[in-house]
């Protein structure tokens, strides 16, 4: 490291100090940090619920909490994690912070709307937290009817309202990012010179804009049935319970791509940076994001193979599901190929990215089982599915978020965290995660259904392994919090470009200026042109 580093005098963090300057900020970087605050709290909340679930499942009997409490635990774990962590984590935190920097822009296209998105998000979150503290909700995060519309006497509607409101934050963020990418690129930054993170965020914005209104409609229809007793989903009122599942998954399956596409983009950045090479097959990786976003809308009923859809529609949805698996496979192969003949610098973000690759691989490949009609009849609603989607959502989305967070942390804070502790945490999380969810694949094939408060005794040993793994996972997450917070006080100064990376975000100071760049950057080369830079360095 350069010994002559000095902290920049004026940054987006220190140019204003008041609480008001944060709560009324239109700076995309500060808004990104505001999101980080709420999302981190939601992650903690969801993690507490997860811990209680794993503690309860350490024994076959229902001896820690009552059945009703258990049902609320897994519901609120899912609601907090899906709507308030996974969906906003990478786009709203890292996307907000990095996207304009990557584009060489002063801010997003609509800074005021960006702030409005955060407030809408917080209001939605407060409704949900209100629902949780005033009795909770027990429908499962999927809100399946007619249980949610007729049977449950918990806070279904307050939670639903929270989800409904939060959706608008997602839509506005999607619009904002899409316009920003179209209109705010620096001179010379053509579409095929964009960092792949930008392509991933663009594809995500598409899904946010097109998909999110459907969950709003679905929740609204549920409210109409619950309060006004209009028969929409309830067979006793002349409705159709399966219709709810179609509408719910029409959003909630694409929502999985809102969760996973941006982390995939972050992984592309990290792997290119620490391999000192352009991403192998740039345009294939870029277009695979769009392919995933578009095909992702055509596979929703693969959640419903045993839910009363016809044999022929099951066939179509199974086929399309296999089709959407291909772009994800293409990305993975390209990431691996990018490392070929690279100059691989194994700093902490790269370790996180490699851990991501391992877990995402398992998550993606186990999707081949659940997409298989003949096997899914057995696997549906078992722990196999629980394990599969945690490998995607935690092993993929959360690991990708941490890879990105470790990568951009020096840019965000201007400080370096402990590289060695960050590597230790990555390994603890990787091992803990596999120990938690690996046994659940076996449990699932054995037939243990999900959402069970008590279970047959022969499943106990595997559940104990899973709970032990969850403890380790918890230790890993706490460790991350410790060394990242410590870095704010004791971390070395990062300098503009601690990773010697390409990309406009590394050409400005760390932490960046309030308006990002001193002069308008101009781009004259493709992304990740490390070999050209070598000539300059030498």
């Amino acid at each position: 490291m350069d010994m002559t580093l000095t902290a920049p005098r004026v940054t987006y963090l220190n140019h204003e100090h008041t609480l008001k300057s944060w709560l009324l900020t239109k700076d995309h970087k500060r808004i990104g940090l505001l999101y980080m605050g709420v999302v981190t709290f939601a992650f903690f909340l969801g993690g507490v619920f997860a811990s209680l679930i794993r503690l309860e499942l350490a024994t076959p009997a229902g001896d820690l909490v009552s059945a009703d409490t258990y049902n609320k635990m897994f519901t609120m774990h899912g609601v907090a994690m899906v709507f308030f962590v996974l969906i906003p984590a990478v786009p709203a935190i890292l996307g907000n912070f990095i996207l304009p920097l990557m584009l060489g822009a002063k801010d997003v296209a609509f800074p005021k709307i960006n702030l409005l998105s955060w407030y809408i998000f917080v209001i939605g979150f407060l409704f949900t937290v209100y629902a949780m503290v005033t009795g909770g909700v027990d429908t499962g995060w999927t809100f399946y009817t007619p249980y949610s519309s007729r049977a449950s006497n918990t806070n279904v509607m307050a939670t639903g309202l929270g989800v409904f409101i939060t959706g608008f934050a997602s839509i506005l963020t999607g619009v904002n990012f899409m316009v920003t990418i179209h209109r705010m690129r620096a001179p010379g930054l053509t579409w095929f010179r964009l960092p792949l993170f930008v392509w991933a965020v663009y594809a995500t914005a598409l899904v946010m804009i097109l998909g999110t209104p459907v969950i709003a409609i679905t929740v609204l229809a549920l409210a109409i049935e619950r309060f006004l007793h209009f028969g929409i989903f309830d067979a006793a009122l002349g409705g159709d319970p399966v219709l709810f599942q179609h509408m719910f998954w029409f959003y909630s399956h694409p929502a999985v791509y809102i969760m996973i596409l941006p982390p995939m983009g972050a992984i592309s950045e990290v792997i290119a940076t620490f391999s000192r090479k352009p991403i192998f097959g740039y345009s294939f990786v870029a277009f695979s994001s769009l392919a995933i976003a578009i095909f992702g809308f055509l596979v929703w009923a693969h959640h419903m193979f045993v839910s009363g859809i016809s044999v022929y529609s099951a066939l179509v949805f199974s086929f399309l599901t296999y089709a959407v698996a291909i772009p994800s496979a293409v990305k993975t192969f390209n990431w691996a190929a990018t490392m070929y003949r690279g100059a691989i610098w194994l700093k902490a973000p790269m370790i996180w990215a490699i851990a991501f690759l391992g877990l995402f691989l398992v998550g993606g490949l186990t999707g081949l089982f659940t997409a298989s009609l003949g096997v899914d009849v057995h696997l549906h609603d078992t722990y196999f599915v629980v394990a599969h989607f945690h490998f995607i959502m935690v092993g993929g989305a959360i690991m990708g978020y941490f890879a990105g967070l470790h990568y951009w942390w020096p840019k965000i804070t201007g400080r370096m965290y402990s590289d060695i502790w960050a590597k230790v945490a990555a390994i603890i999380v990787f091992v803990g995660f596999n120990l938690t969810f690996g046994p659940q694949f076996i449990l699932g094939y054995l037939g243990m259904p999900r959402r069970y408060h008590v279970y047959p005794e022969e499943f106990q040993v595997l559940n104990v392994f899973s709970s032990a793994g969850a403890s380790l996972l918890g230790v890993g997450y706490v460790l991350i919090a410790i060394y990242l917070v410590a870095s704010l006080f004791k971390g070395e100064l990062a300098g503009d470009n601690p990773w010697h990376a390409t990309g406009l975000e590394w050409t400005t100071q760390s932490p960046p200026l309030p308006h990002n760049f001193e002069t308008q950057p101009v781009v004259t080369e493709d992304a990740y042109e490390y070999s050209k830079r070598e000539i300059k360095v030498v």
Binding site: Y147, S283, G308, W345, L365, G374
Partner: protein
């Protein structure tokens, strides 16, 4: 250390081994690709590692042949899995014609089974070994899902609809029955067992438990009690169509078009008669929604089924139960 821990479920139905074979094929495919990518990534990370932050990698931008290879090869493999899966799915969805029929309803938080001879049981199901069994069921309240892990079959119980699962048990013994679709407080208590018995023992169990009237007989009694028989005359001269020999046939509708008469059709015609009117008849029938329980609707359905003159199923239940395993094999 792992001696007491189950790692693989029992295979107790005729299709379980087929499902497992496909499962192991996918395990092999995914293990191959999983290990391949992992080894490649780790090997590259070790081989090309550098401590020099200013070193740069080779300037490689990609390879069209490689991109095509790793798009097309996985796609072809997934096609193999897709067609194999679809074949098994069709088998799982299509019960053999000669299946022993059982009716069931799911309600919070129990499964109630009705055998055709009138025998009822709750959270327990007795079936004979070596004979296809088809369970037709619905839910009386919220969603449930009937799941027999040892048989590799599952289907949601949906209020307002009939679902079915079928299996042919291959081993005498007891296996789990689970509710797999979340249904509220005691979801994990909505469990039971399926007891697979030798045909003779099954027959003894069936007759030994003093069954009352058969399901079809109860349906016939309800048919009279609800005054269905005042319009649905057997000679076809009533205000409603005759139901004799109707089940399994295709009905011409007043709205044009046709509809196959199956369990769902009969159920709908009882509860929502206006939905499909038979050609040549008027929409006179009142709805029985809310007046007939799901179990009684099933009895009426079974009665309509029993009006088929030509079918074996109208014979007394004992005639089936005595069939031996090889005979059941022939039926398939």
């Amino acid at each position: 250390m792992f001696s007491g821990i189950p790692l693989f479920p029992e295979q107790a139905s005729s299709l379980a081994a087929d499902v497992d074979a496909l499962y192991f094929f996918i395990v092999a495919v995914t293990a191959f690709f999983g290990i391949l990518v992992t080894v490649v990534v780790l090997a590259f990370a070790v081989k090309y590692q550098t401590k020099d932050p200013l070193a740069v990698g080779a300037r490689i931008h990609g390879s069209i042949p490689l991109e095509l290879a790793w798009s097309i090869i996985p796609f072809v493999i997934t096609l193999v899995i897709f067609f194999w899966s679809a074949d098994i799915f069709f088998q799982l969805q299509r019960p053999p014609d000669q299946a022993l029929e059982i009716y069931a309803t799911g309600k919070r938080w129990m499964w109630k089974f009705q055998h055709l001879n009138g025998q009822n049981e709750i959270n327990e199901l007795h079936v004979p070994v070596g004979r296809p069994v088809k369970i037709t069921f619905t839910s009386e309240d919220v969603l449930h899902s009937m799941f027999f892990p040892a048989f590799r079959v599952k289907a949601d119980a949906i209020p307002g609809r009939y679902s079915s699962v079928w299996f042919e048990a291959t081993d005498v013994g007891e296996h789990h029955l689970f509710c797999a679709e979340y249904c509220g407080t005691k979801h994990s208590g909505m469990v039971g067992k399926v007891v697979v018995m030798e045909p003779t023992a099954y027959q003894a169990w069936l007759s030994g438990n003093s069954a009352g009237e058969s399901v079809a007989a109860r349906g016939e009694r309800l048919f009279g009690d609800l005054a269905c028989n005042t319009c649905h005359l057997t000679d076809g001269r009533g205000r409603g169509p005759s139901l004799v020999n109707k089940f399994g046939a295709v009905e011409a509708l007043a709205s044009g078009g046709t509809a196959p008469i199956d369990e769902a059709y009969v159920r709908e015609s009882i509860l929502i008669p206006q939905a499909k009117i038979v050609a040549g008849y008027q929409a006179l029938m009142p709805t029985f929604q809310g007046l007939v329980s799901e179990e009684n609707v099933m009895a009426l359905v079974e009665y309509v089924k029993s009006l088929r003159v030509s079918r074996v199923a109208t014979a007394p239940e004992g005639a089936h139960a005595e069939s031996t395993v090889p005979a059941a094999e022939e039926n398939r």
